[in-house]
């Protein structure tokens, strides 16, 4: 799946977690711009894992700070 299609599918998943309706760009950060706490991160990651049938380990999550990095990681994890 190409990057745009992957980004679109993740965008559909983030809606329920983006309570303030923050406009998302590749540079948007989860902890800063989106104000995700650890519980929100867990639920959001689980939703992505189930959608794409992948694992995003805690080790990999530690490297992901922005929306762009997340999309790149999911593209890569799909192989």
């Amino acid at each position: 799946m190409d990057r745009a299609a992957t980004a679109e599918r993740i965008a559909a998943l983030i809606a329920p977690f983006n309570k303030k309706g923050v406009a998302i760009t590749d540079a948007s950060t989860f902890s800063g711009d989106l104000e995700f706490d650890s519980l929100t991160v867990m639920d959001f990651v689980a939703a992505i894992e189930d959608e794409f049938d992948i694992i995003i380990s805690m080790n990999q999550q530690a490297e992901i700070e922005t929306w762009g990095q997340l999309v790149d990681a999911v593209v890569k994890l799909q192989g």
Partner: protein, 399 residues
């Protein structure tokens, strides 16, 4: 110069705001005298202890104390050495034998604390390229063990069998897998569906580690924990436990039937690079563990206490962490940290000590008053405790 302490400012501010409200500091209480497993003197006032994890009340058992005194006389105050150098005394071997007998397992390895047992075993057995699949509500020592090792760490939603199974099935073929579970989760006092979860773990080729810190001594027909109670102890590869709860002293351990388990003594850094437990501590632990094997009457009384307190608090309108009593921990859910701290202080003034648990240690950012019962709490004490909760709850406006 950047002050390295700037990162702690949010918690410094939160604490200052709490204390500014005039409430007594819930995190610096001093036990001035300890009269029994269930009563201490705090701020000059006799206080019932309901937050000590001293489930079986072994801290003042006469045989346990006598064994400790004898070991102090015979072996001195400390070993001043690692278990693999000069720190293994006859007592250390004896307590490991007591654990093998208690669990009916082949191997037991004693650490200086329960924290180090999880830290050491988890970080050592799961290495680079392996996967650790663990419950999101796991204890800090489990998380720190994951962080210290090189394995890929994959959490799943608390007690969610399907979420665990999905993650196990996504792990690349050929990778080593360790599933980490707890028998009793200490924040809410709920138990895990170990029978189902361990079956799923085994079907997916994972080894299983279960932390039974909060169940040893009173859950299961022989007090071996939740896995024994659910009939699946034989399928557990590693049981982690502690001496600082039912056993009544300090220390941690891992028991296992793995044929190569003894190599852990040479490769597990939190075991090798620390001084061993003092002779008095291992002597008290060994005596206590052997007495816990015959604790059926005490176990029955502890369960009675747990059921009575759960029912009493529920009837009075408190919101509890579990619908039914599942362990010796009853968690009372507070609306927020301010009222939780006010309730904690009101209970202390009534003469009752409970644990105040707050985020981030708690699931879902809850503030909890955590009560842990003891087999030595009398039926009268439990009724007194319920009365104290009722008065304090009304005074603070929680019920």
């Amino acid at each position: 110069m950047t002050d390295l302490f700037d990162k702690f400012q949010p918690i410094i501010d939160m604490r200052a705001a709490l204390l500014a409200s005039g409430v007594e500091d819930p995190f610096s209480l001093v036990m001035e005298r300890v009269l029994s497993p269930t009563v201490a003197v705090c701020n000059g006032r006799e206080t019932i202890l309901l937050g000590t994890y001293n489930y079986m009340g072994m801290t003042f058992d006469p045989d346990v104390i006598a064994a400790g005194k004898q070991a102090l006389d015979d072996f001195g105050a400390g070993t001043t050495g690692s278990r693999v150098l000069n720190g293994t005394y006859a007592g250390h071997r004896a307590v490991e034998q007591a654990l093998c007998d208690f669990y009916a397992m082949d191997h037991a390895m004693v650490f200086s604390t329960g924290y180090q047992a999880n830290l050491g075993i988890i970080s050592t057995i799961a290495g680079k390229g392996d996967y650790i699949v663990l419950d999101i509500d796991s204890h800090a020592s489990i998380w720190d063990g994951c962080k210290m090792g090189d394995a890929e760490v994959v959490p799943f939603k608390h007690n969610d069998i399907e979420a665990m199974e999905k993650r196990l099935k996504r792990i690349p073929e050929g990778a080593g897998k360790l599933v980490v579970l707890e028998g009793v989760y200490s924040m809410l006092g709920d138990i895990a569906p170990l029978k189902e979860m361990i079956a799923v773990a085994k079907a997916n080729g994972a080894m299983v580690l279960v932390d039974e810190a909060h169940s040893m001594g009173f859950i299961g027909p022989n007090g071996r924990g939740v896995a024994e109670d659910q009939g699946v102890l034989d399928d557990v590869d590693f049981v982690i436990g502690t001496f600082s709860k039912s056993v009544g002293t300090v220390g941690g351990f891992c028991v296992s039937n793995h044929p190569k388990f003894e190599i852990m003594r040479l490769v597990c850094r939190p075991y090798v690079f620390t001084a061993s437990l003092p002779p008095s501590v291992v002597a008290t632990a060994a005596t206590s563990i052997r007495k816990l094997m015959d604790g059926a009457d005490k176990r029955a009384h502890l369960w009675e206490n747990s059921r009575t307190l759960h029912r009493g608090l529920k009837e009075r309108g408190f919101q509890l962490g579990t619908e039914t009593p599942q362990s010796a921990i009853i968690a009372v859910i507070m609306p927020d940290l301010e009222r939780g701290a006010a309730m904690w202080e009101a209970l202390l003034k009534e003469g009752l000590y409970v644990n105040l648990a707050r985020p981030p240690a708690t699931p879902a950012n809850m503030t909890l008053l955590r009560c842990s019962l003891c087999a030595e709490h009398s039926a009268e004490q439990v009724q007194t405790i319920i009365g104290m909760f009722e008065r304090a709850g009304k005074a603070v406006g929680i019920i």
